[in-house]
Amino acid sequence: MNVLYFAWVRERIGLPREQVQTDAATVNDLVAELRAREDRYDLAFSDLGALRVALDQQLSDFDAPLAGVREVAFFPPMTGG
């Protein structure tokens, strides 16, 4: 699965994207796996209220299932306009 990070999430983790091998059933499960890896992931995901997630480029929820999803992106609330 392709996992993308934007804005300060990218900076905290130190990567714009990576391939992740996972059997996580939901976004929350994937987040738990990532947080368990290293402190930088743990820090980046410490406040899920300050994060948004998109599944295959559609805004989604953290309890959404990951079955069939190819691309997961994590980022802070958007500030366009």
Binding site: L4, W8, Q57, M78, T79, G81
Partner: protein, 148 residues
Amino acid sequence: MRITVQEAPFDMGTEANAFAAGHTDMGAIVTFSGVVRDLPDDPLVAMEIEHYPGMTESALTDIATRAQERWSLGDVLVIHRYGRMAPGEQIMMVATAAPHRRDAFEAAEYLMDFLKSRAPFWKREITANGASDWVSAKDADEDALSRW
């Protein structure tokens, strides 16, 4: 409908004239542009905008399509830049054309409200004293969506 996501500056007058041309059946054209605003206490050196290629275009198209379904519009234009820009530069513009002004104004406001918090852009301000801070999303921007 035209949706453009680009790094290069654009000329708002040229874009607005091109948008208005060929719509003789439209009585109302509304244009709005967002500009990089300088900060009074700590001068801004630059604003940097990051986006999510692919998702950005589809999110903007989705927002514009919803506006077209909701109001009687002849055309919709959205231009949004990414990358580095200086104070005074235009960040983005929206334009709507409609037979009547209320549809054009309301659709433009709708586009702006959704674009601010549903299109995957993130702004960072770089100031003269060396600070480099991501702009936080405002609760008011999220609240603005509830009126639609």
